[in-house]
C-alpha cells in the first residue's frame, strides 16, 4: 500500500533533478522576457518594445528570407539524401562506408573554416545569390540528417516495402514517395526539424559571407535600442520554439516505427 502512495526514492531524485534543470532552462528565458516587456517611459509593462521592431519594414522582409532559406535547405537535403540512402540500404553497396564518412565530415570542420573556404572557392554566380546559404546550411545539417535517415531506414523492412509497392505497379519514385517515406515519416520529420532549427538560427556562415538574414538583422538591431533588441531576440527564440514544436506535433509517428525503435 505504502508503495503506491509514496513515490519511490528514484522517482524523487528524478523529480528534483528535473526541477533544477527546468529552473536552469527557464530562468534566463523568463528574465529576458521580463526585460523585453519593460516600458521605462511609462513605468509599466507592455508590448511597446515589440511594436518597435514589428513596425520596421525590414522585420517581415528578413523573417521571410530566413523562413525561405530554412525551407529550401530542408528540401535540398531531402532531395539529395533520400534516394541515395534508400539505394545504399537496398543494395548493400560497398560505397556505404564512404558515403557515411563523407556525410559525417562537416561535423569535424568548424563553421568558421567552412565560411572562409566558401568565400574563396564558390563560383562568382553562387556568391551573388543568397540561395547559396541554403546549400551551405544543408551541408551543416548533413551529418545529423544522414544519421537520422539511415537509422530510420534500417529500422523498417525496406526491401519488402519497395518490392510490395513495385509489384503493385509503382515505379521507383512512387515507391519511395508513397511507401518508404510514409514508413519513416517520424525520421524524415526529425531530419527536417533539425535542418530547420539549424538554418533558422545560423549566424556564423551568414555573417562571415556578408549576407543578411533574420539572425544577423537581430544582431544589427541590437546596437540601437537595448530593450527593443531584447524583445526582438525573445521573439526570434519563441517563434523558433513554436514553429518547431508545431512541426513536432503535426505529424504522428506511424505505429510500427515506434515499436521497432523501442525493441
Amino acid at each position: 500500500m505504502a508503495k503506491v502512495k509514496f513515490p519511490r526514492r528514484s522517482q524523487l531524485v528524478l523529480g528534483l533533478t528535473l526541477v533544477v534543470a527546468s529552473t536552469y532552462v527557464v530562468l534566463p528565458l523568463a528574465s529576458a522576457t521580463e526585460f523585453s516587456l519593460r516600458q521605462p517611459a511609462k513605468k509599466n509593462y507592455g508590448l511597446d518594445n515589440f511594436s518597435w521592431f514589428m513596425g520596421d519594414p525590414d522585420f517581415v522582409k528578413y523573417l521571410l528570407i530566413s523562413l525561405g532559406l530554412a525551407a529550401y535547405s530542408a528540401l535540398i537535403l531531402l532531395v539529395v539524401l533520400v534516394p541515395t540512402t534508400v539505394w545504399l540500404n537496398l543494395s548493400g553497396s560497398r560505397f556505404r562506408r564512404m558515403v557515411e564518412f563523407l556525410s559525417l565530415l562537416p561535423l569535424v570542420v568548424p563553421v568558421v573554416a567552412l565560411a572562409i573556404g566558401a568565400q574563396t572557392s564558390l563560383p562568382e554566380f553562387a556568391q551573388t545569390d543568397e540561395t547559396v546559404l541554403a546549400y551551405m546550411f544543408a551541408v551543416l545539417a548533413l551529418p545529423y540528417a544522414y544519421r537520422t535517415l539511415d537509422t530510420g531506414l534500417r529500422s523498417i523492412p525496406l526491401g519488402t516495402l519497395i518490392e510490395a509497392a513495385r509489384s503493385l505497379g509503382a515505379g521507383w519514385v512512387r515507391a519511395i514517395l508513397r511507401a518508404v517515406i510514409p514508413a519513416i515519416r517520424g525520421t524524415v520529420l526529425n531530419a527536417l526539424f533539425m535542418t530547420l532549427a539549424l538554418s533558422l538560427g545560423e549566424f556564423t556562415l551568414t555573417s562571415l559571407l556578408h549576407w543578411d538574414t533574420f539572425t544577423t538583422w537581430v544582431t544589427t538591431m541590437s546596437q540601437s535600442n537595448i530593450l527593443g533588441a531584447i524583445a526582438l531576440s525573445m521573439f526570434s527564440l519563441y517563434a523558433v520554439f513554436a514553429l518547431l514544436l508545431a512541426i513536432g506535433f503535426a505529424v504522428r509517428q506511424p505505429k510500427f516505427h515506434e515499436n521497432s525503435e523501442e525493441e
Binding site: A32, S93, A113
Partner: protein, 300 residues
C-alpha cells in the same frame, strides 16, 4: 535523379552487361550527394588548406603556420583550448547525469519531451543567448538578485559574465542539452536484462556498475565529452556576442581577419588559423566517431 535510375534498373532489354549496369546505377544513385558534398564542402575546405600554405605573394610557404605560435594568436589559441576543455567537462558531468536519470527512470513521454527541448536548446546561441544571460546573470540580472538575497554576491566575489568563466556558464546553456542528446542513446542501450543477469549471477549493485555498467558507458561518455570540446572550440556566434574581442579566441580572431578589421594581406593567415582549428577538431572528433561506431554495436 531517381527517375533515371528507375528506367535503368527496370530496363528489360539488356543494353549493357550486368556489371556495367550495376556501376552505372551506383553512379547515378550517388551522384547527387557526391556532387553536393564536393561543391559545397570539399572544394571550400580544399581551398582553405591550399591557401594556408601560401604567403602573401602566392608562393608556397609555412610562414602562416609559424605565425600561429607568435602573439597575439598564441594567447588566443591557448584561451580557446582551455575554454573548450573547461566547457566540455563542466557540461558533460551534469548533462551525463541528467541523461542517465531521464533515460533510466523517466517515462517514454518524458524522454520524448526532453529530446525535443534539448534539440531546440542545443541550437540556441549568439545575441539572443547573450541577452538571456545578461538578463539573468548580469550585474542587474534576476538570478544575480536572487543569489544576493540568499547571501551570495557573485559580482562581489569577482564574477563577470564577460570573462572566461562567464563564457563557460553561457556555453553550458547549449552544451548540457547537447550532452543529453549525444549521451542518451548509450544509457538507453544499457539494458535492464544485463543488470538482472549480473544480479542473478550474484553480483552486487556495486559490482554491476564497476564491471558492466561503467565500462560500457564510459567510452560513450568520453566521446560525448570530446564532441562538446569541439563544439565549444568552434563556437563563433555566442563568443562574438559575449566577448566583442575582450577575450582573445581563435574563432572571433578569424572573424575579425575576414571582416577586414585588419590589414588585408593577412587573409592567408586566417586560413592557416582555420586549418589549425580543423586539426584540433579532428583530433577530438576522430576518437568520437570511432567510439560511437563501436558502441553502436551493443546499443542496437
Amino acid at each position: 535523379m531517381p527517375k533515371t535510375s528507375s528506367s535503368l534498373s527496370r530496363g528489360s532489354a539488356p543494353l549493357w552487361s550486368a556489371a556495367t549496369r550495376k556501376a552505372l546505377v551506383a553512379l547515378i544513385a550517388l551522384a547527387p550527394l557526391l556532387i553536393f558534398i564536393g561543391i559545397f564542402f570539399l572544394a571550400p575546405i580544399g581551398a582553405v588548406v591550399i591557401d594556408s600554405f601560401r604567403n602573401n605573394d602566392g608562393d608556397f610557404s609555412l610562414v602562416n603556420f609559424s605565425d600561429i605560435f607568435k602573439e597575439p594568436i598564441r594567447t588566443a589559441m591557448v584561451t580557446s583550448l582551455s575554454l573548450a576543455s573547461v566547457s566540455a567537462l563542466t557540461a558533460a558531468i551534469p548533462g551525463g547525469i541528467l541523461a542517465y536519470l531521464i533515460e533510466s527512470r523517466g517515462s517514454q513521454k518524458l524522454r520524448r519531451i526532453v529530446a525535443s527541448i534539448s534539440g531546440v536548446l542545443a541550437n540556441t546561441g549568439g545575441v539572443p543567448l547573450a541577452f538571456m544571460f545578461i538578463a539573468a546573470m548580469g550585474a542587474e540580472g534576476s538570478a544575480t538578485g536572487l543569489l544576493k538575497l540568499a547571501g551570495i554576491d557573485i559580482y562581489g566575489s569577482g564574477f563577470s559574465l564577460y570573462s572566461f568563466w562567464g563564457l563557460v556558464v553561457v556555453y553550458s546553456y547549449f552544451q548540457i542539452p547537447m550532452m543529453v542528446i549525444v549521451f542518451s542513446p548509450a544509457v538507453h542501450g544499457l539494458r535492464r536484462e544485463w543488470a538482472e543477469a549480473a544480479m542473478t549471477l550474484g553480483a552486487s549493485k556495486r559490482q554491476f556498475w564497476t564491471r558492466v555498467g561503467f565500462p560500457l558507458l564510459f567510452p560513450s561518455f568520453l566521446s560525448a565529452t570530446l564532441l562538446l570540446f569541439a563544439s565549444a572550440f568552434s563556437a563563433y556566434a555566442t563568443a562574438r556576442a559575449m566577448t566583442n574581442g575582450t577575450i582573445p579566441l581563435v574563432p572571433t580572431m578569424i572573424g575579425n581577419l575576414l571582416d577586414g578589421n585588419v590589414i588585408f594581406d593577412e587573409v592567408n593567415l586566417a586560413k592557416a588559423l582555420a586549418v589549425s582549428m580543423v586539426v584540433v577538431t579532428l583530433v577530438a572528433m576522430v576518437p568520437y566517431l570511432i567510439i560511437q561506431r563501436k558502441s553502436e554495436r551493443w546499443q542496437k
